[in-house]
Chain length 415, copies 2
């Protein structure tokens, strides 16, 4: 018999699920340039300092700072330019007292120099194409000025990136700058997706009266991809306990996570609960979340793998998968906290009714108003996928609020 | 000779670039389930109503609403249940006056019914496993109540999605629900990326003193991927006009957009300007944007293709590419407005100095404070990629602001 649990608020429900997610995907090594959106499997130390040599941040002259002290427009310092450091070459020139060398932005500073005077603060006295020639310096520089020091970007052996870090384009740059061209990341979780329902046919088929096409597999599949998972489509299973149990067990064995879009009638939900409990331990963790839409969501875990039973209607399915499935996929990849969500603040154009003790998610359309963004709720039954197609994001009505009033500033979670 | 233009504010600079982007990628047809993040090439009409038949939104009984009028807990209506509509089948039962049929959530409503009474508001009088049997109805329903009407989600021939729409998981669902399993999208733009600099070596090589590894190709390449483009890596070109011109011309011919990470010294920038002008008309549109970091960005267009010359230092390169390159990639895909950016509001923990008349972007780290998010600027020279690695997003100091003060609420654009 299905065991019913209390209806939990979403945060508590997620916390309960996370307690049972004991698996993190194994590591695989991939080229850094293909690693955007992946998650590091191990902490990565810096193999050497960055930069490895002192570099100029300006076009100008490498100098000994003390030679410029007191220099001004009216009383310039005079320096003898004895050479140039070519880009990409080691600085071999040695500066004596009162001497300077031409350096370019990013170029190496001679060992005997300790600062760079930018070219705008100098003037060549003798139009010399050859060395030595003399310049006037109109501004003093301090030791270290306009110079990147060795290890200023990263120090050798310091942690470049921690384990469980979600890789962004700049992180790729950080690794490649150190010559790290392959990176160990967690494998992308395989997320098995089953649709159930005697009324459901594949999108490729014509739906006769009484039938509808399977869309939840693919909306959820898109969400899986966005979170870094690999959707594995298991097709449509009839409303039959044995068939669903067999398909669910096979899918769970082949995947790292299982999602069932479980139909919306009470009998089908009860069957899904029984199937999840039959897959292994602990099975169903909770059957009911204090949200709308999507209250009858089934959240479970089997041998450390998340198992989620979504309501059959497409709006609830997407919102609930966003609430439990997406965080679970990030968890499987090793992330303890999810990448921060895009949010915008907008002014609400209509009242929204809600019930205290329940988190409501209302699809909303954004438009640019005179004083900033406007959010207009897209009301519609949660059976209508076009309420989400016509929306830009979701307004959350918090657990403890009885509703929102036109004119309120609201947070809209972007799709 | 390079022609220098005024330094423009970023919005004006982008508008100028967009005037010259006359190409939109040609269409290609792909399976809908692979289309997340792609852009529709044409407007898509609905081939039929959705739903195609009247569906119940509840488990309960299909009824003629008039038969329930006046029903209450104390004075129930009595109805005769004459059959059940199985899921996935057409409703063949015909209701006479005072009759009802069992329906499940999502199931079809008999032609002669006009409402659904949910099961919770009924009671079976005779525990009948067979038809007919009698029920009590404790609540009246209005015509249409708990019923999805034909075409309520989408009407036949209405526009399902416009052209130039950025596809999200729910849009896939909207298409598949109508049996649209292939979609015409704009081809992913090929973005040619060249690094220049005598000091630059590939990340796979050991950098000897004076040399640095190429990272801009790959940070920008990651940004290209995130915007839906295909990075084409052209490698490292020496600081030599003829070499750069040849490589740039070849890359532009093979691609839909060209990006050059142009080194940071004035002479290299001048050379890049000349190369861009030599590629075709109009060539360089502006050389200088009123931002920091990244003022010396080169923005151009050749035969409708965007050409961007980035500053050589990695922080400026990424921020400037985000400002011009990313919107250009979306433009090439046909989008008139970019997908909305993720933003969060946070309280600034330190003062930030700026200059009026310039847009500043300061990398910032986010942390959860007691009263909400806190944003701490990551100060650092724009040569240091780790200022971005250690940041979660960018704080924008608007053009007309002289700076920001600790305690201010600031908008942080998430990476």
């Amino acid at each position: 018999m299905p065991e019913f649990f209390n209806v939990l608020p979403p945060d508590a429900a997620r916390a309960l699920l996370f307690q049972h997610l004991t698996q993190v995907m194994p590591a695989e090594t991939i080229p850094v340039q293909e690693a955007v959106g992946r998650v590091t499997a191990v902490s990565i130390p810096a193999p050497h300092h960055l930069p490895t040599f002192r570099r100029s941040t300006m076009d100008g002259y490498a100098v000994r700072a003390a030679d410029t002290y007191g220099a001004s427009e009216s009383l310039p310092a005079f320096l003898q330019v004895i050479g140039e450091v070519p880009m990409g070459k080691a600085a071999t020139v040695t500066l004596g007292s009162g001497q300077a060398a031409i350096v370019h932005t990013g170029g190496m500073i001679p060992e005997t120099a300790d600062a760079v005077v930018q070219v705008e603060h100098t003037q060549v006295i003798h139009q010399a194409q050859q060395f030595p020639h003399e310049i006037e310096v109109f501004r003093a520089v301090a030791v270290g000025q306009n110079v990147l020091q060795i290890g200023e970007d990263v120090r050798e052996n310091s942690e470049v990136l921690p384990a469980a870090h979600w890789l962004r384009p700049q992180d790729l740059g950080g690794l490649l700058a150190l010559g790290i061209t392959d990176v160990a990341v967690t494998r992308r979780p395989r997320v098995g997706i089953l649709a159930t329902g005697d009324e459901v046919v594949p999108p490729t088929e014509t739906a006769v009266p009484g039938q509808i096409r399977d869309i939840n597999s693919y909306t959820v599949g898109g969400q899986v991809q966005q979170a870094g998972g690999l959707p594995i489509y298991g097709g449509i299973i009839p409303d039959n306990f044995a068939a669903l149990q067999t398909a669910a067990a096979q899918m769970l064995a082949a995947c790292d996570m299982l999602v069932m879009s479980a139909g919306s009638s009470v009998s089908v939900r009860d069957m899904t609960v029984e199937v999840v409990d039959g897959l292994g331990t602990p099975g169903v963790l909770l059957h009911g979340v204090a949200t709308r839409p999507g209250k009858p969501t089934i959240v479970g875990a089997v041998d450390g793998k998340p198992v989620i039973g979504l309501p059959g209607n497409p709006v609830s399915a997407m919102i609930q998968f966003d609430m439990f499935g997406v965080p679970a996929i990030y968890r499987l990849q090793g992330l303890q906290t999810m990448p921060r969500r895009g949010l915008v603040w907008a002014q609400l154009t209509q009242n929204i009714a809600s019930e205290s003790g329940r988190e409501d998610y209302i699809p909303a359309r954004l438009a640019d108003g005179e004083a900033g963004l406007l959010a207009t709720p897209v009301f519609g039954k949660s059976n209508l996928i076009y309420t989400l197609v016509n929306a830009d994001g979701l307004i959350k009505v918090p657990l403890n609020k009885g509703g929102l009033v036109a004119g309120d500033m609201v947070e809209v979670r972007l799709f």
